[in-house]
Symmetry: C2
Subunit: 231 residues, 2 copies
DNA sequence: CGTCGCGTTGAATCGCGTCAACTTCGGTGG
DNA sequence: CCACCGAAGTTGACGCGATTCAACGCGACG
């Protein structure tokens, strides 16, 4: 029995599709959305080349998206937190172009693309928010690209933590202490750095008193200094 | 007198907003679009933080988009060719977040965001194409990120030429010979490499017979070998 | 003719990747 | 609950690829 889960009472709504809608409209949106069975760690939600029937919204947990290079290696292109929408690459030609995998136990909302399209005819706010979210992702992606291109390993990692921290804050969670659901290898892959470099930088940041790391747990001690590093 | 310029007879239409529209609908779209005065090299079309009233479509010429880092340095995030749409980052909160500058004499179509939004209520095809274009950009941006992260300087540059070449081909131009409207410094900035590295790689690719470069002119001699390099 | 932006080339440096050894964590089964 | 084993993480030594610094060539333009 999961009928108590609705957009109407979802704390991620302000970050998600309901943002520009009034209560009545949110109800309309909610009526086309299915709650997905919980995903376990390593479960694949989206498989590249599959027909794209749904967008997904993260309700709880976290995921990574990746493509495969010519040797079959993962190229991580995104980490998803609650409130994030997943599956936009399926809108290009009707098939997904990447894989999305749960990093921990995760709950998703399943949004049928076709119903969403129909509903967006009636609800200008929905249409705008959809475009707003994709544009925003596009912008983040481009600036991230610029940042990675022009910065050292330390700056990249600092930037990664600063961004992650602010995303947690947006979601009403602590920006100072959080758990990394991804491995060091995932972070390295995402930032274009080797696992060893990530590990070395972490001990270095810790030695310099910027943060503390214990396994997956991160406590940021000097956010302003970290932000200064990130440039 | 530029009244002969319309979406109806624009060769870039299949790449642009009209893609999913029938002739009558294209006419509706055309009626909200203004032709922009020609831009000269170095003219700024979009200034970061300005209110975003328009999207722009490139009719001819080319441009670069960039943000500024904390020291005021350019971070190039995109090169735009005919048929491309510009200005999506203005949809996030109503203000542009980057700069866009002409690399040569350039003609733009000016699309009022508000009218576009209204028209997209009536035209599902317009709505879908808009979302399609942004999603597609998003996907390119993410995979580019993955590519740059995981590849050597040579692979990056090869990838750059392969992509550029295929974009020219999509636009009905030669995929074998084209003119680079951007400088070596621009390319290096975009790919996260120094000018010197770009220069060295170009002479090397030329020495290996993959392509020929004379100033801005590029002739690709062995597209398949270039593609193999890009991986 | 001189200047300035752009591009090329060489030499020296260094940041990060690679390889390798070792430790710790976490899950699974007895 | 503990023993075990593979996955994940850490640390050190070494090498290489790309940056940096510097000098120079070339064409455009006043």
């Amino acid at each position: 029995m999961t009928s108590h889960i609705h957009c109407q009472n979802c704390s991620m709504a302000p970050l998600c599709l309901p943002y520009l809608l009034n209560p009545e409209q949110i109800e309309q949106l909610d009526s086309i959305i299915q709650r997905h069975r919980p995903l376990q760690k390593r479960d694949l939600v989206i498989h590249s080349d599959d027909p794209a029937k749904f967008l997904y919204a993260v309700r709880s947990g976290s995921l990574k998206s990746y493509t495969l290079d010519s040797q079959g290696g993962e190229q991580i292109i995104d980490f998803h937190l609650p409130g994030d929408l997943i599956g936009f690459d399926g809108l290009i030609d009707g098939n997904y172009r990447s894989y999305t995998q749960a990093l921990e136990t995760t709950m998703l909302c399943e949004i049928p693309i076709q119903s969403l399209d129909q509903l967006s005819t009636e609800l200008p706010g929905l249409r705008r928010q959809l475009l707003r979210v994709v544009s925003s992702e596009l912008y983040s992606s481009k600036t991230l690209l610029g940042n990675l291109n022009h910065h050292s390993a330390q700056q990249r990692l600092a930037q990664f933590f600063v961004t992650l921290s602010s995303r947690f804050q947006q979601r009403g969670l602590s920006s100072r202490e959080f758990r990394l659901s991804m491995t060091r290898a995932d972070i390295g892959n995402y930032l274009g750095l080797s696992v060893e470099t990530i590990s070395r930088l972490l001990t270095q940041l810790q030695r310099d008193g910027l943060l503390q790391v214990q396994n997956k747990l991160v406590a940021i001690h000097a956010p302003e200094r970290l932000r200064a590093l990130a440039v």
